[in-house]
């Protein structure tokens, strides 16, 4: 079980509040979906709980530790793939180097991550030559390779064709069995299939948080109801 608590956490820019304030206490395992329309603050929330936002107020604690101090225990997959000008293997290795892993350990960790992401046969190709779907999986592998306790995924399915999407779903579901995952996503059907918990945002506010079956069958807030019916918010 992973424990996350936020207390009046918010992200500001000058006098404007972009996200929050959010107060939340979660004990969870498995996959937690972060839902909401575009601009709701999903990416911002992920950055907030990962501890990469400088201008945040309030507290964000993972099992009692401040988010900014224990980034090493989390893997983060960005919405836009970052491609280092090197091979796929070297790209994944970079995460291990950043975290200070020693030379000896790195080899088989990378192989394991490559296998999880179904990229073993592309390991030594230049990352620049990968297709869109393969790049996404490389980014996922890079987030996984450090064996994080928590994985944060920002729109991992965006722009993927059906085959790539299926592959991604399989991988994430498999990883979700042993790692707690926060996943920002658009597709309601896929989300309903994959997740056990839902956090729903609109306009920078957390409107609802509930177990997935409850959220999808009986949403409490108006915004959630409209959202699930496919209405613009």
């Amino acid at each position: 079980m992973t424990q996350l608590s936020l207390n009046q956490a918010k992200v500001t820019s000058g006098t404007e509040t972009l996200l929050g304030p959010i107060t939340l206490n979660l004990n969870f395992a498995g996959i937690t979906a972060i839902l909401g329309p575009n601009g709701a603050g999903k990416s911002l929330f992920l950055a907030l709980i990962h501890g990469t936002i400088a201008s945040c107020k309030g507290t964000v604690l993972w099992s009692g530790e401040t988010a900014t101090t224990n980034r090493a225990s989390r893997g983060y997959m960005l919405q836009n793939s970052v491609i280092l000008r090197r091979t796929v293997r070297a790209n994944i290795d970079f995460a291990l180097q950043s975290r200070g892993f020693k030379n000896r350990e790195r080899g088989f960790k990378i192989d394991a991550a490559l296998e999880q992401a179904q990229l073993t046969d592309r390991a030594d190709a230049p990352a620049a030559s990968l297709s869109g779907g393969e790049l996404r999986r490389m980014n996922l592998a890079r987030a996984l390779v450090t064996s994080p306790k928590v994985l944060l995924l920002d729109e991992p399915f965006a722009g993927l064709d059906p085959a790539a999407s299926t592959a991604m779903e399989t991988i994430i579901t498999e990883v979700g069995k042993s790692t707690a995952i926060f996943m920002a996503h658009h597709d309601l059907v896929q989300t309903r299939r994959m997740s056990s918990y839902v956090l729903f945002f609109t306009n920078g506010q957390l409107r609802e948080n509930a177990f997935a079956p409850a959220f999808f069958s009986e949403p409490k807030s108006n915004e959630a109801q409209q959202f699930l019916q496919g209405q613009l918010l």
Binding site: L78, I83, F94, S98, A128
Partner: protein
Amino acid sequence: MEIFKTAIGLILSGDADLVTIISLSLRVSLSATLIAALFAIPAGATLAILQFPGRRLLLVISSAFMALPPVMVGLVVYLLLSRSGPLGGLGLLFTPTAMIIAQTILIFPIILSLTQQAVQPLNREYSGLFNALDTSRGLRIKTIIWDARFAVSIAILAGFGRALAEVGAVIIVGGNINGMTRVMTTTIALETSKGNLQLALALGLVLLAIAFSISLLTHTIARLGEKYQMVRA
């Protein structure tokens, strides 16, 4: 046409004096390039990454110094190394060492500025990943320098070209001493002053041929890394 024949004749003759002059030119300029690059490349990358008050001013100054007049650098170094100057006790004036020092100072801003410009876009592109992984500053610098290696090697080549081609600095601090501090450019100046224009031009062609070879070498090496560069937008 005559000068081409003279130039080729010079190269093929293996004239001992010419060999000495060419070796000294290469030794001085390559040494200066190596030393300048050693410090200017990390400095340029650091300047690209670090935010600090006065950074913009430093960038303006460093670009301005790319146009340092060689004769002025020579004069300043002469005043420093002269027996009547602060570093006179080192006895370095009129030696190849003094020439290396002067050329290192001359090309340092070139390599610094061009490296900074080469790595800055890469730093911007990678910053999301760096933040997510909490990459150390040292590793960030190493990463952007390596990934921008093609542009960085062009920066080094620019520095080398400037050093090899200049005469103002080496003639003042070296003294153009026969057999000791005479290089290609000072020889060309000398032969011109003696009215031996054909010989001077031929020597100029030899110098150009050397510069061309080194440029070809650099570009060939850089092309080996091309497959890692971005293919898609």
